[in-house]
């Protein structure tokens, strides 16, 4: 099967130095791919490269038949990739519903089905739709952030550490939601610090270190791998 997203030997960085030293990651349709690795491995940077927020100086990024290397973020959003940053990922001064509206900013026409779908994924938010996003708890804010991104019904959803700072209860909820999103036809690539839990629930995973690929395989295979386990002792 042709991958939906294919990062091929991508190099790049923000200033003069390259953070990514040749990263290759594939995401198939309807797949959850997790990127794990020690701090500074370049996991978030790799995600930013996909969404157009990084200066890519080598390699290629292909998405659904297009070469999107070097595209601007808003063009990539239009193309069908939505990104949820780790922090500052909601409009705090706007209500939950307005956040979703902004998510759908590029869409016209009747959006009732889209709203139903998103509120269906996050039923707790329906009661809070008129609350300001900034007033919600961390877990609920994370849901608003994901909901905003899903309003555009992307083919690929990028999540940067979606469970950071969340209680185990919310973490489990988020993982379940991610599974539901995949089942609805969206592929998800996520960066995670909680490596063990993430590898347990994903389809495939990549381990990055110092800006390059180290290991890859199914979640189960990576969990069983002794070298990987050693890297994350205590993760």
């Amino acid at each position: 099967m042709i991958p939906l997203l294919s990062m091929q030997d991508v190099r790049g960085g923000y200033g003069d130095a390259d953070i990514l030293q040749g990263v290759s990651i594939d995401v198939a349709p309807r797949e959850i791919v997790v990127i794990v690795g020690p701090n500074g491995a370049g996991k978030s940077t790799a995600m930013k490269a996909v969404v157009g927020l990084l200066d890519v100086r080598g390699g290629q990024i292909l998405f659904d038949g297009d070469d999107i290397t070097g595209w601007t973020p808003d063009r990539i959003v239009r193309r069908g990739i939505c990104y949820v940053p780790q922090v500052d990922n909601v409009f705090r001064e706007m209500t939950v519903h307005e956040n979703f509206e902004m998510g759908a900013f590029l869409r016209r026409g009747d959006l009732t089905a889209a709203y139903d779908r998103v509120y269906g994924l996050f039923p707790d938010l329906r009661a809070k739709r008129r609350n300001l996003a900034g007033d919600l708890s961390g877990g609920q804010r994370q849901m608003v952030a994901m909901g905003r991104a899903l309003m555009l019904e992307p083919g690929l959803l990028l999540l940067d550490e979606p469970t950071a700072g969340l209680s185990p209860k919310y973490m489990e909820q988020i993982f379940q939601i991610i599974r539901d999103v995949r089942d609805s036809g969206v592929s998800i690539m996520l960066v995670e610090q909680h490596a063990k839990q993430a590898l347990a629930f994903c389809d495939r995973g990549y381990v990055l270190a110092t800006g390059a690929n180290r290991h890859q395989g199914t979640g189960a295979a990576l969990l069983a791998d002794r070298e990987v386990a050693q890297m994350f002792l205590g993760a």
Binding site: Y14, I19, G40, T45
Partner: protein, 319 residues
């Protein structure tokens, strides 16, 4: 214009260039070195002028002052007063962002202007203060002008030397470290706020000194003598054009802009009367436009800072 007239005019211009050069050097301490947006230059200038006038001038009824103290005392008083005004403003505003400091300094200049206009017992109100002694004032006209120009040049050189020396001192190096990377400097335990306050007071005192030099040159001061916003704006464009962060640039900018400003006045004075008043505003428009062009095409100025671009790049975002 006959040669004598030309020479007199040149001497006159030279003195004013010197005074503006002082202001530009002072603003360079604020902006070029410390990144402080002082939009109230004229206020500190006015304080210096009036304090020196009060201390050294002849008495007048209804007004305090007229202590007829020696001129150097007046100058010292001017610097102290300007620095004293800078202290509370600095304490309140320096830790907030530049925009807020700018508004606050605009406000300070406005308040100072109000006080000058309203408090007759202190400043002589609209009449101002006359009878301010002028060093070398007893010589005949051209000699006196030349002598004062030499005096001003001397002051500028001394201040230039003093500022340059400060910049090369540990204090100066610390200021540059704070300007270029405040977070790192603070992490190293440098008292950023205190250093900024010192720079603010230092620069303001020099602005006061410039005011004192001005008032002794004119032998008098009135609220109309200087249009505060024009003066402040001229000093700003002098610094930006000359090269902010660079003391020689400040002096060069003062010379260039003042030359343009006063030569354009010569030109427009020759126009018929009704056009001449409008011409003044056209000149202001042109100066405003010049600032935009400099910001667009040569923001580092004629003489860029020696140690590299004086542009505070925002910190690089990290993954």
């Amino acid at each position: 214009m006959d040669p004598m007239g030309l020479l007199n005019y040149a001497l006159f211009m030279g003195t004013l260039i010197g005074i503006y050069a002082l202001l530009a050097l002072a603003l360079n301490i604020h902006w070029g070195l410390t990144g402080l947006f002082n939009a109230g230059v004229a206020g500190f200038f006015a304080v210096g002028a009036y304090v020196s006038a009060i201390l050294t001038g002849i008495p007048a009824s209804g007004r305090i002052g007229g202590f007829e103290l020696p001129v150097p005392v007046g100058w010292l008083g001017a610097m102290l007063a300007a620095g004293a005004i800078a202290w509370p403003i600095g304490r309140i505003c320096l830790r907030l962002r530049s925009d807020y400091l700018a508004i606050a300094t605009i406000g300070v200049a406005e308040i100072i202007r109000l006080v000058i206009r309203s408090e007759d017992w202190l400043t002589g109100g609209p009449r101002g203060i006359i009878g301010v002694p002028r060093p070398f004032g007893d010589l005949d006209y051209m000699a006196s002008q030349a002598a004062y120009l030499l005096l001003v040049t001397g002051v500028v050189l001394v201040v230039y030397w003093a500022v340059e020396r400060q910049l090369r001192s540990p204090w100066g190096r610390m200021m540059k470290a704070i300007r270029d990377n405040e977070a790192a400097a603070a992490a190293m335990g440098k008292d950023v706020e205190k250093r900024r306050l010192e720079a603010f007071i230092f620069g303001s005192a020099i602005m006061g000194l410039a005011g004192a030099l001005f008032v002794h040159f004119n032998r008098s001061i009135t609220p109309e003598a200087i249009d505060p916003m024009i003066a402040t704006f001229l000093v700003w464009i002098m610094l930006i054009l000359g090269g902010s962060g660079n003391n020689r640039g400040a002096i060069l900018g003062a010379a260039v802009i003042w030359l343009i400003w006063s030569l354009s006045e010569l030109l427009t004075d020759r126009l018929p009367a009704d056009m001449a008043t409008q011409a003044k505003y056209v000149r202001m428009f042109v100066i405003g436009l010049m600032l935009q062009l400099v910001l667009r095409f040569r923001p580092e100025g004629i003489l860029p800072e020696e140690s590299g671009q004086r542009g505070r790049k925002p910190p690089a975002s990290t993954g």
